[in-house]
Symmetry: none
Subunit: 205 residues, 2 copies
DNA sequence: CGTTGAACTCAACGCCTGTTGACCTTCCGA
DNA sequence: TCGGAAGGTCAACAGGCGTTGAGTTCAACG
């Protein structure tokens, strides 16, 4: 027995979905503990795997977080579908697509992960900012033909972010329990106003 | 020279406000880096002091964080003053009071610290919910004579929370750099619509 | 059948963390 | 005048962190 290993190493037989297992464990860890709180070793342990394998798959902790972000935030891209259609119903379609995404159970868990991670680490803030800018605000402001498109997109983003925080994370009533359709009907017109209305002028009920 | 120290140790002459210096440094650190990101050594360095002294004063990192939170207390309550005055300008006064509080440098630092604490414990979430409910939503919904007052207040709260997240914490442009007066002029009418408008009807630019 | 590369483990690296205990120096009250 | 107590430094601890590199095992392809 000169250099014989313990034989636990090496590739496993069959098609192991280890990568996905790790990703799930990482999602749960980031959700429960935040970016800094979650550790590579802990995630590896939860996935019943060596920490080095996590590095092997995702390169680094940052890479892993980005992968979680990409997987969790990927549904955000679905929101972009709201852009198809005439200008007039834009605000309404935006809020409906947005709510659709958040109401899906696993999706909302993933997105909550992202938001939670924000509170603990500043590096996560940079990551999320980049993603929001690229995946949501960019396409949105690109589609708008009104002036000050980035501002309009930012206002919508701020309103939607606040809605998520209130409804899905803090669960403040009565917003949290409100019927999605009703909420969309209420918020849609305001988004529309931000998108195409006269900024700084009263919406005039 | 058996055990002679470098003579840098020992009590400093005069009345040194070292404790407060440390508290300030800690506030800044927690704000900029989050709980885990901020380090005892870093805080000590910023206060030009040894890390052990921080422990000496506050017991532990947890104790220091709690001290920072306790020092901040309740600038939120100042927002409640918006309620004085006629109904018509309510939305406008709400956003202006809200921005006033957040624009004050030390206040915003402290509030952001609290927000960051959210991820630490679910009790922090309860704390914030209580704060929001008591200081903003309560007075607001109590004052409104329209129907569905809690819902209206909740909508305003959601919008404002999103604004804080976007402007002060994530610092997403162009919202972050927007002139406060302009921002108030833009958002005020929408708040007003939530407060007294026809919910679910278009604001009709 | 041989080779290549992907999957996987193991041991170790260097770094940074919060905390401790010993020690020193000044202030203040008895 | 003298003795705590309070303010302050220093060196070191033990442990956790992300990451690395070498090594092993398996699957797939020519």
């Amino acid at each position: 027995m000169t250099t014989t290993r313990k034989s636990t190493a090496g590739r496993r037989p069959g098609d192991s979905g280890t990568r996905e297992t790790i990703l799930d464990a990482a999602t749960a860890a980031f959700l429960g503990l935040g970016y800094d709180g979650a550790t590579m070793r802990g995630i590896a342990r939860a996935a019943d795997v060596d920490a080095a394998l996590v590095v092997h798959f995702f390169g680094s902790k940052d890479g892993l977080f980005k992968a979680v972000l990409a997987a969790g935030v990927d549904p955000i891209r679905r929101i972009a579908a709201f852009a198809d259609g005439p200008d007039e119903g834009l605000g309404d379609r935006l809020i409906r697509h947005y709510l659709d995404v958040w109401e899906a159970p696993d999706t909302s868990a993933r997105m909550t992960t992202v938001l939670r991670a924000l509170a603990l680490s500043s590096s996560a803030v940079e990551l999320l900012k980049g993603f929001i800018g690229e995946a949501v605000l960019g396409p949105l402001s690109g589609r708008l033909n009104a002036d000050e498109a980035p501002l309009r997109a930012g206002l919508c983003g701020a309103h939607l972010a606040g809605l998520s925080l209130t409804r899905y994370i803090l669960k403040v009533e009565p917003i949290a329990s409100l019927d999605p359709g009703r909420l969309a009907a209420i918020v849609g017109p305001c988004l529309q106003h931000y998108l195409s209305g006269e900024l700084g002028e009263p919406p005039a009920t």
